[in-house]
Amino acid sequence: MTVLASTRQGPKRKHQRLVLVALALVAMIGGVLLAMSALKDQAAYFYTPSEAQAAKVEAGKAIRLGGMVEVGSLKRGPDGVTVNFRLTDGKASVPASFSGITPDLFKENSGAVAEGAFDAQGVFRATNILAKHDERYMPREMEGITYDPKTHKVEAAKP
């Protein structure tokens, strides 16, 4: 029975199944390679201000910068929608600027993660700001970070 079936229609049938399996493999491998190459260019790395300075992040490269908004640094521009502030991790502090409506809990002495890139002058131009959202939720990178406004001391939990 099986012998009959395979001699009558076997080879061609096997062939089609093989083609399908090969196609699926090619598509999946292609997909994974594509994902890997895209991740290399498009994944945004997270830095604290001191890490960003140490790593000499080049201007224009999209990153996430996380730290505490330094006390006394938060200033609003005359247009009412641009804010300038400094992000600190206790070891270093970086000037940053953002245009838009800031999150509800974005304030001095509070944790924030800015998405964006440094400009040529070394100012971090944020395109988006994530702040601690409520008492229970905060950006994951900010977990465990505490900040003392008097001494500017920051204790960061390393992953």
């Binding site: 895209a38 409506i101 409520d134």
Partner: protein, 648 residues
């Protein structure tokens, strides 16, 4: 007492699930007749018990019983009724109970209503369903008991996260969960069919309605969730590639592929092993989705708690079920005979390409979602967002839409490439016209992807109607209409996405009362900002008058709200819907000099995105009704034919 009754119901249900698995084994492997008789009542009883447990939890939330830990931690006696009700699943334990309840109710439905399947495969399917349920009962009872008591009782609850205090909460999680869990049914069918070696067209016809039902709810849930995020967050975006969004998208992608391959299997008896594999992948994605959401492992606005024990529990379940299914697949794959052959130019071939593209998109979303997790384990923190997803998924999704233009024009098994070219000429021409119109008429530079998107949308809108061409519309089966409407919905949605990304305009300003802003030919004036009080929040509320050509077309009241339990500020944006798009208005912070931040977007045809999603789901509903009716009629016809044979 209610809490204890709920817990008892759950334990009893778990015992019944164990019995169900045992009976299924005895019936299928040993041919035990008693087990065969008992398995369906046991399955139904298990469904009833978990349904009861869920109902009891809702009652506890409605009564604000603060002696129950879950209620005290997530509810508040002053909360509006609907949020007490929906708050029952707006937390980890409650949502897992909802998951289990839906799963065992779906099992009961399979026991009661499934008629098309071979008897032994049906029983094996119920056994597989019981095996999955058991794992989730263990998770619920050992690691996330929703009925745990609090002693002494709290004076009042801690309240529900204000972001979740929205009517969307009442519908969004249940629809998505039913969709997720519906895929567990497809998985159980696949395991049942592998165990009894019945992977064939009959299996596909039986599994198709269940996959369709799950897929409809996922489609609806994703569409609703997207609109919810769009208006609730006040960020103006409709898809953020947030891990939680991806968690719902991945099962949908797998289910869409499964739906189409099950169609091939049911109609042409081809793609057998392929369909089984997709059923396993689809449920794996449901479980990965649950893992991502419930473990709180990723940065996300949805992740409220981090609890590693729960995450590892789900991972272990994932390993057991998916690993087990894959081993079974490897052992049985050679017994699955290859189905019917088809030509490279045929509808089957196009559906294979559809499946491949969907799987590639699925892989890209999965990798992009998990990548930050993997690097974090190695001490490097990265985030993967829209730049990654849009750049690589956009073009592939567009290719998928092109395949969707061509696919339904082809005949099954074998077709002629020349004839296809002739059939595709009209939609192709339309796409070209659209392309010329956009490039020629648009006053601003439009990106390549949105331009192509609009052109393909035009072609697809026309081509999706082709299956109705030269047909008697009254005699066309309902499921054909379903397909046409769903595919047309893809065109509508694609047009909305492309238009939103190409033609949106934005104003950002600090305004004092009396200031006006021009946007897309409309004038927005800030009249006043006044305090306003709601049931459990206070707000500052702006009055914005929108006029066009000197005529007032509406007044909008966006708010900056402040909730007291827990203390949280939120923004309530306002969307003014016009026939050709939406005006999106957000009130920001007050400045020291009395000005208010104001953000205004004009988003042309953005509503098409969700309208299209709704059409896709509607198409699914029509297809489901059409298929079920057809199967009923067929089985009746068979029964009467059999009766006639006996009579003769």
């Amino acid at each position: 007492m209610i809490a204890e009754a709920g817990l008892a119901a759950l334990w009893l249900a778990a015992l019944l699930a164990g019995a169900q698995l045992l009976f299924a084994w005895a019936a299928v492997a040993k041919g035990n007749a008693d087990a065969l008789r008992l398995i369906r009542p046991v399955t139904v009883a298990q469904g009833v018990l978990t349904g009861l447990a869920m109902t009891l939890l809702i009652i506890l939330f409605l009564r604000s019983d603060m002696s129950v830990y879950l209620v005290a931690a997530n509810s508040h006696s002053m909360k509006p009724f609907i949020y007490k009700f929906a708050g029952a699943w707006g937390n980890h334990e409650g949502s897992m109970l909802l998951w289990v309840a839906v799963m065992s109710l779906a099992g009961a439905a399979v026991a009661l209503f499934e008629r098309g399947l071979d008897k032994r495969t049906h029983i094996a399917t119920l056994g597989a369903q019981a095996a999955i349920s058991l794992g989730f009962y263990a998770f619920l009872l050992l690691a996330s008991n929703p009925f745990a008591r609090l002693d002494p009782a709290a004076r009042d609850g801690q309240g529900l996260n204000p972001l979740l205090q929205d009517p969307g909460l009442a519908f969004h999680p249940p629809t998505l969960y039913i969709g997720y869990v519906g895929l567990s049914v497809a998985f159980s069918f696949a395991v049942g069919a592998l165990l009894t070696r019945q992977v064939n067209a009959r299996f596909a016809r039986a599994v198709r309605p269940w996959v369709l039902a799950a897929w409809i709810l996922l489609t609806f849930g994703i569409t609703a969730g997207s609109y919810w995020a769009y208006y609730e967050l006040g960020w103006g975006g409709w898809w953020f590639w947030d891990p939680v969004e991806n968690a719902s998208l991945m099962p949908w992608l797998a289910a869409t592929a499964l739906l189409h391959s099950a169609s091939v299997l049911a109609t042409r008896d081809a793609l057998r092993a392929w369909t089984i594999m997709l059923a396993v992948v689809a449920f794996a994605m449901s479980m990965i989705g649950t893992f991502l959401v419930r473990s709180g492992i990723l940065t996300s606005v949805h992740a409220f708690a981090v609890d590693p024990t729960r995450g590892s529990f789900i991972l272990i379940l994932l390993g057991i079920y998916i690993g087990g299914a894959l081993i079974l697949f490897a052992l049985r794959a050679h017994t699955v005979n290859e189905g019917a052959r088809f030509d490279p130019v045929s509808r089957e071939a196009m559906l294979v390409i559809n499946n491949l593209l969907l799987c590639v998109i699925l892989a890209l979303v999965l990798i992009g979602t998990l990548y930050p997790l993997l690097t974090e384990m190695m001490g490097v923190r990265v985030s993967v967002g829209p730049p990654y997803f849009n750049t690589i998924i956009g073009p592939i999704a567009l290719a998928l839409m092109v395949v969707l233009v061509i696919g339904p024009m082809l005949r099954w098994r074998k077709d002629d490439a020349k004839l296809l070219l002739r059939r595709a000429a009209v939609p192709g021409g339309l796409a070209l016209l659209a392309l010329i119109a956009i490039v020629g008429l648009s006053s601003r530079a439009v990106g390549l992807l949105p331009t192509l998107g609009l052109a393909v949308a035009a072609a697809l809108a026309l081509a999706s109607l082709a299956p109705l061409w030269k047909r008697n519309l009254l005699r066309t089966p309902l499921f054909t209409y379903g397909m046409v409407i769903a595919h047309f919905g893809c065109a509508v949605s694609l047009a909305g996405m492309a238009s939103e990304s190409a033609f949106s305009s934005e104003r950002l300003a600090a305004a004092k009362p009396g200031d006006t802003y021009e946007i897309a030919g409309m004038t927005v004036r800030l009249d006043s900002v006044m305090p306003f009080a709601g049931p459990n929040w206070t707000a500052m509320q702006a009055a914005l008058t929108v006029s066009k050509d000197g005529r007032v077309i509406g007044v909008a009241h966006p708010q900056a709200r402040f909730f007291s339990d827990p203390p949280t500020p939120t923004t309530e944006s306002v969307q003014m819907t016009r026939w050709n798009g939406q005006l999106y208005l957000v009130l920001g912070e007050a400045l020291e000099d009395g000005r208010w931040q104001l953000r205004i977007w004009w988003k042309p045809f953005v509503t098409f995105i969700w309208l299209g999603g709704g059409l896709i789901a509607l198409g699914g509903v029509l297809a489901l009704i059409g298929r079920v009716r057809r199967e009923r009629r067929n089985s009746k016809a068979q029964a009467s034919a059999a009766a006639a044979m006996v009579a003769a």
